[in-house]
Subunit: 382 residues, 4 copies
Amino acid sequence: MDKLRYAMVGGGRESFIGGVHRKAMALDGQMEMVAGALSSSPEKAIASGRDLGLVDDRNHGCWQDLLEDELRRPASERIDFVSIVTPNHMHYPVAKAFVGAGINVVCDKPLVHTSEQARDLISAQEKSGAVFAVTYNYTGYPLVRHARHMVRTGQLGSIRKVIVEYNQGWLSSLLEGTGQKQADWRTDPARSGIAGCIGDIGSHAENLAATITGLKIESLCADLTTFVPGRKLDDDGNLLLRYTGGARGILISSQISIGCENDLRIRIYGSQGSLTWHQEEPNRLLHAPIDGPPRLFTRSCPWLCAAANKATRLPSGHPEAFFEAFANIYTGVAEVILARRERRALTELEGDFPTLLDGATGVRFIEQTVASAQSTEKWTSF
Amino acid sequence: MDKLRYAMVGGGRESFIGGVHRKAMALDGQMEMVAGALSSSPEKAIASGRDLGLVDDRNHGCWQDLLEDELRRPASERIDFVSIVTPNHMHYPVAKAFVGAGINVVCDKPLVHTSEQARDLISAQEKSGAVFAVTYNYTGYPLVRHARHMVRTGQLGSIRKVIVEYNQGWLSSLLEGTGQKQADWRTDPARSGIAGCIGDIGSHAENLAATITGLKIESLCADLTTFVPGRKLDDDGNLLLRYTGGARGILISSQISIGCENDLRIRIYGSQGSLTWHQEEPNRLLHAPIDGPPRLFTRSCPWLCAAANKATRLPSGHPEAFFEAFANIYTGVAEVILARRERRALTELEGDFPTLLDGATGVRFIEQTVASAQSTEKWTSF
Amino acid sequence: MDKLRYAMVGGGRESFIGGVHRKAMALDGQMEMVAGALSSSPEKAIASGRDLGLVDDRNHGCWQDLLEDELRRPASERIDFVSIVTPNHMHYPVAKAFVGAGINVVCDKPLVHTSEQARDLISAQEKSGAVFAVTYNYTGYPLVRHARHMVRTGQLGSIRKVIVEYNQGWLSSLLEGTGQKQADWRTDPARSGIAGCIGDIGSHAENLAATITGLKIESLCADLTTFVPGRKLDDDGNLLLRYTGGARGILISSQISIGCENDLRIRIYGSQGSLTWHQEEPNRLLHAPIDGPPRLFTRSCPWLCAAANKATRLPSGHPEAFFEAFANIYTGVAEVILARRERRALTELEGDFPTLLDGATGVRFIEQTVASAQSTEKWTSF
Amino acid sequence: MDKLRYAMVGGGRESFIGGVHRKAMALDGQMEMVAGALSSSPEKAIASGRDLGLVDDRNHGCWQDLLEDELRRPASERIDFVSIVTPNHMHYPVAKAFVGAGINVVCDKPLVHTSEQARDLISAQEKSGAVFAVTYNYTGYPLVRHARHMVRTGQLGSIRKVIVEYNQGWLSSLLEGTGQKQADWRTDPARSGIAGCIGDIGSHAENLAATITGLKIESLCADLTTFVPGRKLDDDGNLLLRYTGGARGILISSQISIGCENDLRIRIYGSQGSLTWHQEEPNRLLHAPIDGPPRLFTRSCPWLCAAANKATRLPSGHPEAFFEAFANIYTGVAEVILARRERRALTELEGDFPTLLDGATGVRFIEQTVASAQSTEKWTSF
């Protein structure tokens, strides 16, 4: 099989997430980076591309050059997709240009800064028909997929309550004041957008709950706080949620919760049972039915749904983790690209990844959370 | 040493909590039940007293008779305190009569139905000078006391955030429809008050957070829900809290969370570290300092404060649990009674129990939570 | 109901285990200490009895006086049983005298120093017919009883393997050199017997495995070590076990395992499933069936056997612990005494406690372990 | 940087471990498979190579052809190393041929069937000077490396006791009777060697303990059992160990322990503290010092040694797992190959992988375990 060819925008030296995407794509040996514009600084972009073995004529100083060059190339050479891993503020122009040109896009989250931009991307995508995925990577975990299966097939009865949390502690002091690159851009409104913590990680929590349950937020009530003096954006945000149909939610997110590393977790309560999952122990899913003792599902155990099994690479007890979940998002994208290439329909399990619509919902979530935080009204409609 | 003599009001046959109080008081061999009015039904009261070995002339059909009889007896025979373990609606009249008569009171929670009643009890207690304790039993756990010590001595820095939860699942269906006694009165507004879940267990969560942190709620925003059709009171309640001084809180309580048994837990985040404690594993307290790996404190380990050590009966690894915590509340009450008898001052560690003021705060919490739940304003002042 | 009356031998000031037994007996309000000889030092015995409220004419300076006095009293005043909580070397003479005199005995473990002594006690008990229990207290935990039920009813298939461990760290340095009373006698061959760690706690592990599985040791292979210089007895002991019928076992015990508090745990593997239980989290039992995901049983959950339910006092999630398990042993003894008094047969669930035969097996286990440790043969017959 | 080129022997269609090795090597984008002889069946070998994109002239039907072809090629084309992932019985001839020809080797474990073969490989390697690594992959986990660091720098004091376990349940019935490929060869003496469970996974446990502690086994006492009727090799093995210097060990391994997936875990007790690590939660390491509460180290936390930090790819809380640990072994091999190519010395942290000597120790362990199991002597010298 030929490997899929991709270009990367962003993700050069000093980037954290670029390397994660690349390793995730490398894992299964099915994708190859052939081009890139790896930094907003042309010098750094070129140097980063050399580090990574890009040939000179596909190693660009800016994303515009990359796009132009790709469009010039024959289909046989052209990239199959672009992976956009820049700071948030660059997602919109880059994604719009590529998707507008008909090139398949994988874009990091949060998608863009405003719902208007999101709608604009949706229009562009509808016109060009390109594939567009948003890397809400936590949805790639096999047991998240099994949780989704259990909820969607009614095994919890009707969903009553969701508690979703994303707790971190790394911004409990003014780390951005030290020049640390990750802290720097994530706390800067110009690059990160109108929200800090709630955009950076709260949006993952929102998406995780939506992915598993399928519930739509009807209204929300938010309290955003900036605890660390000198910080420009919120570093803690907590919400009450009301879902269409009557379910209730609590969304907790924080970057000042000392002792928490990457503590994304979710609990889902229905009329017939509950589920508990924790990203830091991703190979386990606890199911408590109303009529029996709690049961522990583990990744690759013989009692999982097909979507969970498809998303796993190792036997049970041989732990998989973050990279594999990330890779699963890309696998879904690859399946669509290959099916199109082969002019065949997707099978039921193929193409399992977060879409532009999920990304747009995430942007709306951030906007309405910030609006609610500034409102004296209890409930802000979604 | 002579044992302390007590009477019990409520707690007869079919009661759950009466037996818990009695066992807690029996554990250390320092207290003896000598009188009682153990049920609102005179027949059941008398029968229950006989079950428990009360002599006939101190086994009463109603609490008024009990009180009258006690006041008639010489001090050498009279009870040292009364333990009130009736359903909520009886707390007020019984407590008022006993405390008004100068008899020491231990009363279950929530204290009373209204803040007005609470103020009335406070007046009565100020006049008579009787001891008055409220059995927020979870504050009796040794590691809760160590958590309080760590917060109060600044080991977490300034407190930024509290997440306190009390999740149960036992009311996830209409159990009161089956005649189950516990469900029956707890979901009946006439006996339980204006709140269901939030009064029954949310108030424990409120008190636990207040006991450990000393923080005062400034305003709150509540969402109360009744999920089970046919139920008369809330069975799920979630709040955003703002504390005086700027700390934030989330309080989650539920009786429809299937898979949760008695899942009271608290996380406290300060500028220098965090604490995590879970009632179902009460012998452990996790402390994450900002500048080192998380550390696990266990009950009776050599690194606890004096108040925690005083509240323990066994070496580490020999687990203690619910009864012992409950007993510790009574121990604190006994210390005050004994010190008064011996006309000596309390030592620093004596008399460690929740007071009438704590009980009054709990009543206010329930009232303002219900008010907030009915309001369209985001924040309801406390 | 009249309370059962008991006397205690040993358990005075500075004793650890005496107070544990007394609190356990007090918990349910059904037993009353009316006499005692609480120390081998007459002065300390008398002082201890006064501390605990014994009346002078039943507060004795030595156990011989206690026994003589009891035998002199009319049945209506006489104790229902004696609780022997001395250091090990006194178990034999005291137990023999009381059981020989027809007084019911509850004796701490390990029972005696030699199998010959054990046989002698068995003869004495057969003659007098007195009740005799040995406080292997860990068998009193409700989930141990459910584990026993599951094994005995075949839910694990045929048992293949048992891993039982009892790890402690408190003797990792020469604590007995500091005069600490518990360390002092437990490491002294004259009072503790031929074994240290393996007698003190290894025997609990042996009994726990035997109680749950019913398996008989056929042969064993032991490695005993004294790690701490200056210590007179083993402080670490590990065994391979072969059970009659082909099952295999590993028994690990240690008092030099730093970080372990009272880490008694057992895993049982059968042809159809496995069980895992840990004394420090005693309210949970994990069952892994061969044909489904692991299931978590909790104390008081609706899926336990009658013997487990009978041994519990609180709803699930309200943790019970060490004292309650201890109390359950005494409850079983009380049931036999009461049934005899009432001249009725025991019900199926009554009288559930470790017997003299269990105690004798434990003595044999210690003897053969020490023999094996000194042998160059691989297997020592049991 | 040019990628390292490798060939694979074994690991074709239906193989489990071949794909694991390939993904591990792919993860960091530094290695490329350019040749192979992927099965003992020439047809399957060729088909498998095509699946994986090997060009025809480097896709061989047998390993002899592969070797011959490589030796014919100029250095600029030749593989940098061969990865041998066949069933055990093929390790020896293949490894000997390649290492004899001066080609660097990475070979799966257990290394070979006999100590004689191991010595032969060592001779061959000493002659040719080729790099030779054995994929005891569990030593690649960052927290295993930190555990090693803590022991080796004396943070636990002198090591007294090691408990190492490797429990699995997948062979609790006669799976090899169903034709399952993994079960088939692993239970076949012709391909697996003289041992089943103890060779397949017990040897990992042995190596893990040795890697962390550096302790040498002086003598051992083994009990091997075949529980499943019809099985040809042991499926359960338990050992007492005596280490040079006086430390004691227990090694438990099993493939009939239902409920255990890949339950490799180790506890190490020294005179100053202990460590606990569990492969199924590999991102955590518990350290209990003698003079403070237990502390939890997590991967990528700021308190780890350089070797652990070097072996990690993600920030703390973003879990890493099995593939990354495997990849770390290959990284160490790559460092040596690159340093040789660049004619420079290794830095202190480079070249961190299990060697031929570790592999030979593992073979000796299997031999002596089987010898002990057949002996009536208690201790078999190592």
